[in-house]
């Protein structure tokens, strides 16, 4: 598998990362995502990493890149499903997921996304 499926759900995109990422895969995902954000005109992206057991600086940087790329295109990115052990590793490694919103699970991620979209549209409206 060298492509990660991207699902469209109402006005957001849902990505579930279930395998260990390597360079090319991460790059493809980034490209695919940005393209789909433009194509579908969505306001948010949810990335579920609950099946990942290790998040290293590479994946951390990839998530940060995706977040800033989608934000430029007007969509917020939320990473959901970080496991406790993964969270501890990330903190211990000193990896900063800058500009990335996080939520406990997909449910909460969607709620957060809704409120983010609302505030950003309000800001733009005024």
């Amino acid at each position: 598998m060298d492509k990660i499926p991207i699902l469209k759900l109402k006005d957001l995109l849902l990505v579930t990362i279930q395998v260990d990422m390597h360079d090319r895969m991460a790059h493809t995902l980034q490209e695919d995502l940005t393209e789909r954000v433009v194509q579908d005109g969505v306001k948010g992206v949810l990335i579920d990493i609950s099946s990942l057991e290790v998040v290293d600086s590479f994946i951390g940087r990839m998530l940060g890149n995706i977040a800033s790329a989608t934000r430029t295109l007007g969509a917020e990115t939320i990473v959901v499903g970080i496991r406790p052990s993964v969270a501890i590793t990330i903190v211990e490694l000193g990896v900063t997921l800058e500009g990335v919103h996080t939520a406990l699970n997909v449910d909460k991620g969607m709620a957060l996304l809704q409120s983010l979209i609302k505030t950003s549209s309000q800001e733009k409206g005024t």
């Binding site: 406790p84 969270a87 501890i88 997921l97 406990l104």
Partner: protein
């Protein structure tokens, strides 16, 4: 030293065991070697009798070295006594004196038996003295080990019990921290907290630090880590209970909780948490 001589000590002691035991018990009482309230006289007598017969058995097998196989029974018995002493709260000198108090009665006995062989007497006294010294040291070491075990167990228990993570409202957790934070404790707290976040699907955590004596750069670092990990799980952290002195120390040290919401009391923090969760507290009018 020949074997003939060696067996003499054992023989002498064995022949006058009863007398020796009486004298030893008297000696122990005189030296107040044992707390009378911690151990009954009968028990003490029984124990001393057992020890004496083990000593004789040891003497029969060899007088040079108490670390040999032959003395293992004696050593084990002493170990159990010493560890018990540590658990029951006997003082170190009480534990050591127990064995050392055997010296005088044994010396007196030897003197009586070997009164017309001064050379042999001196040799025997030296041998017994060496033996008892090494046994005394052994019992003391065991006592120390027993104490260390107790301390270690208490430390483990403290780590296990002192980091509760409590759910105080739907979606709101609180972690009251009491005592000094170190890296091991922080790790345990973090694990407990993150697991609890997953279990309760909480979105706000209040870390209450009024029980933390000092917040230096190291402790602040631990707090930052915990907050960062919780944030990765999509949870906001509020730190409450910062005392005035701690606030001053933190400013002087240049530690800043810039991105973290801080409140003075748990009540303030809870109020803020309610606001974040879109909850209102309403006071009802009393019905007449």
């Amino acid at each position: 030293m020949g074997t003939g001589k060696n067996s003499k000590i054992a023989e002498i002691i064995n022949n006058s065991k009863e007398e020796l035991l009486e004298n030893w018990l008297k000696e122990q009482k005189k030296a107040k070697a044992q707390h009378t309230e911690l151990i009954s006289e009968g028990e003490l007598r029984h124990r001393s009798e057992e020890l004496l017969s083990l000593f004789v058995r040891g003497c029969l097998s060899g007088l040079e070295d108490t670390s040999t196989e032959a003395w293992s029974e004696m050593r084990d018995f002493l170990s159990s006594i010493s560890r018990n002493n540590a658990r029951q709260g006997f003082s170190p000198s009480e534990t050591a004196t127990y064995i050392f108090s055997l010296k005088q009665p044994v010396f007196a006995l030897l003197r009586q038996e070997l009164s017309n062989e001064p050379d042999a007497l001196l040799d025997e006294i030296w041998t017994v003295s060496k033996l008892l010294d090494s046994l005394g040291l052994h019992s003391f070491e065991e006592y120390q080990r027993g104490r260390e075990e107790i301390i270690e167990r208490q430390r483990q228990e403290m780590i296990g019990h002192s980091n509760p993570v409590m759910k105080i409202w739907e979606g709101i957790l609180t972690v009251p921290l009491i005592g000094t934070l170190d890296s091991e404790r922080t790790q345990v707290i973090m694990e407990n907290l993150l697991q609890k976040i997953v279990d309760t699907e909480s979105s706000i955590v209040i870390i209450e630090i009024s029980g933390v004596p000092t917040v230096d750069t190291e402790v602040a670092q631990y707090l930052f880590k915990t907050v960062a990990a919780a944030k990765l799980m999509g949870t906001e952290c509020i730190i409450s209970g910062i005392r005035p002195q701690i606030a001053q120390t933190m400013v002087q040290l240049g530690v800043a909780f810039d991105d973290i919401m801080t409140k003075t009391t748990l009540a303030d923090a809870l109020q803020y948490a309610f606001k974040q969760s879109n909850l209102d507290i309403v006071q009802h009018q009393k019905r007449a």
